[in-house]
Subunit: 358 residues, 2 copies
Amino acid sequence: MSRKRTGKKEATVKTVGEFGLLKRLRAKAPPLPPHVLLGIGDDASIMQPSPGLTLVATVDVLVEGKDFHWQWCPPEAIGQKGLTVSLSDVGAMGAVPRYALVALGLPPRMPLHRVDGLYRGIWETAEAAGVAVVGGDLSEAPCLVLSVTLIGEGKVDRLVRRSGGKVGESIWVTGPLGRAAAGLRALQAGYRLEQSSAKGKQRKNISPKTRKAIRETIQAQLYPVARYREGKVLAEAGFATAMIDLSDGLASDLSRLAEESGVGARIYADRIPVDPATQQVAQLLGLDPLRLALGGGEDFELLFTSGAHPATIHEALARSGFAKPHLIGEVLPAGEGLSLAGPRGGQKPLQGGFEHFR
Amino acid sequence: MSRKRTGKKEATVKTVGEFGLLKRLRAKAPPLPPHVLLGIGDDASIMQPSPGLTLVATVDVLVEGKDFHWQWCPPEAIGQKGLTVSLSDVGAMGAVPRYALVALGLPPRMPLHRVDGLYRGIWETAEAAGVAVVGGDLSEAPCLVLSVTLIGEGKVDRLVRRSGGKVGESIWVTGPLGRAAAGLRALQAGYRLEQSSAKGKQRKNISPKTRKAIRETIQAQLYPVARYREGKVLAEAGFATAMIDLSDGLASDLSRLAEESGVGARIYADRIPVDPATQQVAQLLGLDPLRLALGGGEDFELLFTSGAHPATIHEALARSGFAKPHLIGEVLPAGEGLSLAGPRGGQKPLQGGFEHFR
């Protein structure tokens, strides 16, 4: 986006064609670990699974104009997010992410530097997670469609499903909520990461503290981080009885976990972690921070149920260098439904969250 | 396509929303085999790999308007083709296909019966191949984008790469070529499967034999069959030294195999199998059948190199109930390049085939 314009016509996907693009990507791809016996360039890739472990697999799609906008999203961020969505899913099982396959639908007119940036984002995120990008497909499409399949491994008796939550257990989240949603609203209002100042809103006076808050929330929206390492610790210690990643919003994702577990739940408004940056951006834009936290989505924190003592959970995560998780509510019998308890004791049904096609 | 119109407004993807559609699909999905411990409905699926085997994985994308057209393609055919492309890739490794993940980008206005038909095609093809559909994702997109990831298994020392072809070996294909391309050209010319008669070309006199040929080639285009069973036999017997599936056309796919193997090749025009149906349709439409066979693509037959005696290969495939493969040429040193030898001894460079974005 900060790319300088030159007189020369920029190379596009069409300039190099499918095979040229494939060669380009193969030449730039990072080296593969020894358990990948064959990477991109054949009919399929070959991987040596770890003995005694089971496989987990997930696929996620990002579509231009729906899940991201070129207007404010650098290609690297799209690549990072494309893989992060799947890393978050594998993390919510308590598994270790291993292999990714990247299917890309591209408009022929797309500048090559965007494809390069997208892959850079994927490769950097993959490398940080110990994931090998082993395969892919390139296809022509009317807009960018990025589909990432992620294969992971885990001990079969330690993997955590959505269905294991039991009445009486506590409900936890691994980190602050609503940040990504606040960032999205800031972007929609015309704020940008590189400026951290108003754009379109001429020279409105914004304090350095608010600027920092805008930057932090936009950062959370554009460059989300998946909690797969935390997920593994929670799973291996046997703390999490049910787990889901917060991709569509706390209200929506909690209702899915509760449905699969056959339980109800109550969460407490004043325990839902909303950090100062989210609160400041909400105030600036005239939004309710609690609604951002409940309905916003894309925070990619983990939501889990546990019967373990809070101190034990805190210690285990702290020992691995992770932030303190937040106890936000409790599992109830199914008949109690899902409710949000207010700070003054009242309670109402829990609602909100993102759904496609709606 | 033959669906009757009723006065009632038809239900679309938007009518039921993402979660409604997910529920609908989960309710209709076939039961999972015991080695799938967890299917669709959690953050990721869980599978028990077969001890001692390695994994293979591939992903392929089909895009509306590029890879298929609603105009002549029933939803079931799109589902079948979406999985077949990947089955063909896994087959070209000599592996056994096991698990599929289906990522779907859908326009909200798409009628539900199309999504149902698409999944029916996927499930039926999967069931016939012993493949379990273990996961998926639904997303909003401007047109239908179907991305299928297929995971298979095989013995590490039996899997066949593109790179193993050696000078002096023979070049084989498992079946007739150009059929799918002839079918596509027939569709483009206005012929249809259900009519097997001219449409748009009013009452042109077509013989029953030609009608049958049109039907057969359109069938090959709309409902292609992957040769994964043949691939496994060829791999396990150790016959195939290099293998690739014919998805982009013989000329293009042979050149990739030759490049990866670091060899050249000569194929003989009069040995390339073109069946009578393809010849008749080519004649009807004024096309060169050999060009259809060389450049057409989507036949999903296997191309392989082998040093084994032809009779041994014939016997092995016949014993498993498969058709006789065709010996079409020989592997040469890299310096010889790729050539097509004519029936009267002349030869010319091999060219043609499909490439995206071009």
